[in-house]
Point group: C2
Chain length 369, copies 2
């Protein structure tokens, strides 16, 4: 092999010499050699809803079990039932993957299965896409789910959060969560469209809106749609989601994710759940009822509605952080937002008992307030 | 935003114009605009063991169920048992991840938990590592599991397959499957070591060797060790594995994989199984017994031993492809190798009935041959 230039690294005597001290430094040896890994912007990990560990430690005397309303995950999961032994034991097969994609294509209105990819949660695509796109100007329509912004910034893109699509005119990539988490803002294909840029549409919360709200069936060029399974079906631990895009991009993403990306349980449960139209209809009605009940309860407790999807409500309160504390002391976890300190997001309580517990805690909050 | 150069792409009027025609071309529109995704070498997907679909179609009259001996996966899985509802329903929590890592650290002899990462199958790391390393000269010690070679080549590295570590002297990255799949070749830390390059050691089949065979406890600088969960525990569908490396690389890999990379069932089952020393001891004895029984059977049937690990045997036969056909017609799937046409890999039969079926099929093969 002849010596050749390697990006940012000079090779001499078969050893790496980093051209900067930003590379990975060995912690186990004393050699002056640095093995360099491509650079990435190091960012503070985001706080997410749904992780009770820290809040339980913060409120050690709160009554248990905790009522976690900090996510937009359906609180009444699809029944997992018994899985065939092979789902656990065998490597996921291509036939099983095709069966999952057939069910997903029907469910989501995908016309061409070559435009559809199953992934271990849409987060896998949120992480991967910024690595495949050359350094770009990226506009994220905000405020929204912060992982999009963070993942594009980590890979060195020039990221702006804009509050209107009109302000994204010069962007090469536009990222929109539609309907938005947490505001519920919903844009039409016409409002999103401009085929000269890459459009990433995260439709995590679209399942209970009319099919026409989704970009899937009329997939515009240079668009990738993300669809979440775990939120609607209440199975966030399973890690299952989908990407829908033109076949060349799907083929590339499939290669980058590699074989067996979706687990055996993911294939087995996903296939069954996505074909279960009766469950989805029942769930839609149940969620709508629960949403109205939550609206009444929050309005009565003095919150101002800001936005909503079928799986959560966003409200405003002048003293939101005090509300988080009051509810926390009563074992109820809701989602605050560091950038919008007056906002709170409430997931739907899943049972009558959960509704009554929230109502009682909110009343106590008001009387204490 | 000011206009700025983007790698390989000129931005003009807010539109992309690809500098080559290798980019992604829109299939849904007629616009002459090309949105470019970073280039990658397109490679034919690899054939893997463990996917019966194609072989079942090739031998439509074979007796069912098929006996799949085409993988190196333990045929007697760890008992999954009932999982807590939260493992499916909730987002995997950091506390649950820490519990998994604590069990894995104990099991694998990892001293510092900051050097350990759980992943959804080691394939996820095999895909990811080549994207994080600047373009390098990569030597893969072969013949071995081909995904390593393919994943490094896909990301544009200069990849050679070498048959001796001595021939990798000029490589910036050395990849070794240790013990090797399929040859069983086992190298010592001294044979592998030279801290000036990145060393990737895939220890997928090391679990039943003495702990000293692994690089984990004495982790050399600039080394990443991959440990597979699914093979030893017979749960390949679960998608669980681990990476062990210095803390700075582990932190970077953790960021690149993102939150919730390991599923709820993966956390729950992995944590339980990795702490179950009695099951592992029993399994080691059972596999050793099954391996000896398989050796006798293969030798009696005229195969020449080439190599072995505790989970498979590699043998040579002058007419290996005919053997694949004969066994296939009897519903038994074994693993051929396109580059070594005389080789066959046999996984371990999991039951007496499976052993008897294989013995009978091999005898018939001999009499037909």
């Amino acid at each position: 092999m002849t010596e050749r230039a390697i990006e940012g690294v000079r090779v001499a005597d078969g050893r790496f010499e980093g051209t900067s001290d930003k590379g990975e430094t060995g912690e186990h040896g004393t050699l002056p050699i640095i093995f360099r890994i491509t650079e990435a912007t190091v960012l503070k990990p985001l706080a997410h809803g749904g992780d009770l560990g820290e809040v339980v430690r913060r409120f050690p005397n709160a009554p248990r079990p905790w009522l976690d309303l900090s996510t937009g995950i359906n609180p009444v999961p699809y029944p997992v039932g018994a899985l065939p032994d092979e789902a656990w034991a065998r490597l996921p097969s291509r036939d099983d993957e095709r069966a999952l994609l057939t069910a997903a294509a029907k469910r989501y209105g995908v016309r061409d299965q070559a435009t559809l990819l199953g992934v271990p949660g849409t987060q896998a695509l949120i992480q991967l896409l910024p690595r495949l796109v050359p350094k770009s100007r990226v506009a994220v329509l905000g405020p929204t789910y912060e992982e999009h912004e963070v993942c594009w910034a980590r890979q060195g893109h020039d990221v702006s959060v804009v509050d209107d699509v009109a302000h994204a005119a010069s962007a090469d990539v536009l990222v929109v969560v539609n309907p938005d988490n947490p505001t519920g803002r919903l844009l039409s294909a016409e409002e999103l469209g401009r085929p000269s840029r890459l459009l990433v549409v995260d439709e995590a919360f679209i399942d209970f809106l009319p099919a026409a709200a989704s970009l899937v069936s009329k997939l515009p060029p240079r668009t990738i749609v993300l669809r979440s399974f775990g939120k609607t079906y209440g199975l966030a631990g399973l890690r299952l989601g989908f990407g829908i895009a033109e076949p060349s991009l799907i083929a590339r993403l499939r290669e980058e994710l590699g074989p067996w990306a979706v687990s055996g349980p993911g294939l087995a449960i996903g296939r069954r759940a996505l074909a279960d139209e009766a469950w989805l209809r029942t769930t839609a009605a149940r969620l709508e009822h629960a949403g109205r009940r939550l609206d009444e309860l929050l309005t009565a407790a003095g919150f101002t509605p800001v936005g909503a999807t079928s799986l959560f409500r966003l409200v405003r309160h002048d003293d939101a952080s005090a509300v988080v504390g009051r509810l926390g002391r009563q074992g109820i976890h809701v989602r605050p937002f560091s950038r919008q300190p007056q906002w709170l997001r409430f997931g739907l309580p899943g049972t009558d008992a959960a509704f009554l517990r929230l109502a009682s805690a909110l009343q106590e909050g008001v009387s204490l307030g």
